[in-house]
Symmetry: D2
Subunit: 353 residues, 4 copies
């Protein structure tokens, strides 16, 4: 049986709140420490937070006293989840890792670090082995694992079955991203009600890069990225949760017809299906046949927000296939993805000392 005490870094932010909500009744992980900025430190969590989740603030967490994000305040935890803003995540996560505390991070800072796994359990569970190459602390007890950007999650998960079957040659993607992706307060309503904003700062470079690491191979103590190009356009639309991607993909060995492409999704094997991870969706990648599906408002919550939906799979005229894909950006694409990473690493024994 797994039983761990964990801490949340960036506990008062939007991602931090999602961690707390998703972990409320978690069978393996119990929140015992909360970290936030100096402004919140010393307050009870219920007083420090502007709670924006739809569910009640969990009673077990409400009265925990918030600490500053320093390893000395997190002595008893087995590891931490980090929902820190990237402006501070770099230093803080390094400090924790150096002090021997594993960090499962949602922040972007270490995603491109040579020895840090960028991990989606259904896509590249084996990349976890990079952990042993890390040198944040001298005895290897502290390390960092990251999950990708919220767009790269459904992109890599939907590309994975196609890559295994046909090989990816190149990808053109337009991501229509919900406002929750910008955190809170985030996107001003005057900007986005009845509107589309055709730019999200820094987003496209992440989308163009991360999937090539996720679909890459660990070679020695680093990851060999894939060489296929991704051309990305990221826009903001007035949805709440769920990023919808329009994807066109050229394949190395294209299927002979659409049925063969559908079969690639139907026959794809989830590599973590047998691990019994609590947050693992039964069907990580679901192919909808209905033309009008998937839709962010209707389907982002399916399987606890952990399922990647694919729809409108069809033959292309410029590239081989076209499809749309969608995942819950703050669950599958952020806190939920990190928790699944934590579960994978727990199942593999990375937290045993």
């Amino acid at each position: 049986m797994h039983s761990y005490q964990i801490g949340i870094l960036g506990a008062t932010g939007a991602v931090g709140q999602k961690f707390i909500r998703l972990l409320e009744d978690h069978p393996w992980f119990t929140i015992t420490k909360l970290g936030a900025s100096k402004r919140s430190a010393g307050k009870k969590y219920k007083q420090a937070v502007h709670w924006v989740e739809k569910t009640e603030l969990p009673a077990a967490v409400a009265d925990i006293t918030v600490s500053e994000c320093h390893s000395s305040n997190f002595g008893e935890v087995d590891f931490v989840f980090s929902g820190l803003d990237s402006s501070v995540a770099g230093d803080i996560e390094q400090e924790f890792a150096s002090a021997g505390i594993p960090v499962i991070s949602n922040a972007k800072n270490y995603r491109m670090h040579d020895q840090v796994p960028l991990l989606v359990p259904e896509v590249n569970p084996g990349h976890a082995e990079l952990i042993s190459s890390q040198h944040f602390d001298s005895d290897g007890k502290g390390w960092i694992v990251t999950n990708p950007n919220c767009v790269s999650v459904p992109l890599s998960m939907s590309l994975k079955p196609l890559d295994e079957a046909f090989g990816i040659d190149s990808v053109v993607v337009t991501s229509m991203q919900s406002v929750s992706g910008a955190g809170y307060p985030g996107v001003p309503s005057l900007d986005i009600i009845a509107n589309v904003v055709p730019y999200i700062g820094g987003e496209e470079s992440k989308v163009q890069t991360e999937a090539t690491k996720l679909l890459g191979q660990v070679k020695g103590n680093t990851t060999e990225f894939r060489s296929f190009p991704i051309q990305a356009t990221a826009v903001r639309v007035p949805t709440i949760e769920g990023h919808l991607l329009s994807v066109s993909v050229k394949l190395k060995n294209p299927p002979s017809d659409l049925d063969e492409a559908k079969k690639a999704f139907a026959e794809w094997q989830n590599p973590i299906a047998d691990l019994g991870l609590p947050s693992s969706p039964r069907q990580p990648v679901r192919l909808y046949e209905e033309n009008r599906y998937p839709q962010p408002r209707l389907h982002a919550d399916r399987e606890g927000g952990m399922q990647t939906a694919v729809g409108r799979l069809r033959e292309g005229t410029v590239m081989d296939l076209g499809y749309v894909t969608m995942a819950h950006n703050t669950i599958r694409g952020a806190a939920g993805g990190a928790i699944l990473n934590g579960e994978l690493l727990a199942a593999k024994g990375y937290f045993e000392s």
Copy 2:
């Protein structure tokens, strides 16, 4: 001086209302006849219509008695604009043309007809010459001209400068379309508030085809389509007016750098600039430099809703360039585009008898 009496077919529908609003103070065209279904015929327009425009129903039109859409009721008009639904436009437009009444149509029915020009004045004004090949009536007085689908308008207008400068090789486009594109009542609010619907019936095939006719050449009595492929994904987003397109384009002779691409837009010559058409925008294609522009809610109304906006022009990783483009779907992409077609044909003398 141009002075014409005109009729509106489909006058009570969303496109018909837009015709009436846009023609309220038109210097050349005066509405004298309104055509609608049998249900509305015999009523005064103000009683027959569920007016959804933001401006007042024009007083000069309010008391016109609506007729059924048959040429015998439109004896005195010089030509008609058709905002008919495609389910009835085929027969009715043919009947008018056969009776010697020119039809400037927004409907899709004759867009692919060999002798019917699919016309965007700034893109292919010369295609008007196809009119003389038509045989709807024996003496050639009745004919049909169409404008393209609301997505094909900004797509063709934004591709035109690039085509002239570099030659189009292939295009991948995702169009994020506003609810007004579906008419009234159109899209149920339960479907689209805080949502994206990744499918619009019949839309993608139009987008994949029409621009290749628009950018084609008239050869003898038909149009030679261009051969470049367009791969389209059409989705519905909760905007009111303005379709925003994310475009990736491969070019035959790509520019050496981004500045050269920008120069293609800056130096492109509007072929109808000198005609003094009342609805002609000063700047038909505007390139925005600001990352966050253009946006449907902020910019769709610029230049009376007749301007096509381009933004986020940048080098691509899969195809040569990426950009977004946007136009007002019910003005530039429908009624306003048809009116500009009418003005072009008036200026060229097509309505002289």
Copy 3:
């Protein structure tokens, strides 16, 4: 133990779908028959329905063959829930009741019938006794019970504690109603995105009347309505689920201060608390202290969508108190309310033969 076979009338409509979703794992009620219009009859439910719920169509229902809504097709059921449109509910519900099949209806048709209880279990559970006065069939086995309009539910539930403590003198209410209240397709998106429509046909008269029956007394074989006036304004706002009401209330014996008013809510006793009804919320009326609460998008789903929320309780300048109240309009205010009525009547033995 309660175990009943039930039918759903109007099964393909928006309310019917909600019944099916809410009853998916119901411990007492099992759906065995589905009724809809002639157009759907004979089809499997999954083929007849345009499913708009966020969850999957329950497998146990998907393959049930839909029947026309006639009692002869519903022989084996213990009772039916009716989500019929009011245009047909009058005749059909009467036919079922006359045939000896109890009808728990969400339709408005019989709400004002002298012998038909208009029932909210927490407000007027005793009104169920009116059932015995009904004469739809000669042996009294068939009868009709209704739940109120979706606005009258939170209005009556929030007024109940105040009425018990202070007596209602008069009420002014503005209801801001979500689009799901109009069913599907319902409100056109062009009408409501970024807009408010200050009129909902027929709504205000229901709001002004129903609460005075709910808070009234059964006297003999009829209900004595209360005499206090309600002045209602009903507007449509672009929310999905949850009607929010702004209420001003004058009281017969006003509290001496705000705390006394709060105490009325805190100390109010839920009359069905001890019955163990499966859909009964632990806290039927929750008073929020936070200024910004309740909000439709955040709180409509609390307690399975069965809780009425109250907030912003404060002293008034014209009337004694002001507050806002909100309930999930398609659960608490429609299908969920009807199910709770069914549970109440089951617990009281009304379905024993």
Copy 4:
């Protein structure tokens, strides 16, 4: 002929931008100075501002160098419009007035000042006479005039005809306010998309007070407020522009029927109709007969955004009448209202020295 040089205080904010847009081609007033915070001072306006208006930044203003808001920088102007935030408006406006520069302010700080007119030209033009009682500077050349809160504008304008005809006894109002009322960045989209927030800090006390000053009488050197109570609930809804109010009103001498109430609106005389003010709407208060009107998105822009719309006028059950009213909150309710105040004062000779 009137010709004045004017300055804008708070020029980079949302209200300041609206002043600049509305004054672009103003026949009387020319913007020559712009004031903003120290952060913007010294920059050209086009560099200092994050322009959020739909129209282009006016070229004549784009290159004006922004100054700090001190009278010494505004030597040549005849007067200033203030769009300052209330956190700084108190001191700055006083400093300008003390230096002999008249201030037409949209800020709330001096609205309740005894000698400062709270002015809506169609409601209480005579209140301008209070100016002569002010002592901000010793020779009376500097003074302050304010316009009311954006809700109080349509409330007072719609109550005025009823007050003249029947006398106001008491008012209950729920205001459904658009996001532009909170400025930019203002309301986070996560709070308001598909939602209603039942609280706007500080708003209700303004709504409950200002109309009683506007409808009051100048007596000597102060305004005698009216004594009728207003009970207000202010909520935020996801509209862009236009606050819609649901109003219930009790009258001292109620009309005998609804027609008499309609006649009060029809026969009301606009007291400034003959002054020829450039921003004055032809019909300041328009009564819509259509049940579904007025709507913020359709009608807020009517008459340049300066018209107050009234609709759904009907008899009440608790109070004598019910109606809805709506005005463009950032034009009629803010910058446009202030400009009309400036025009009124110009026409009355207050800027002659």
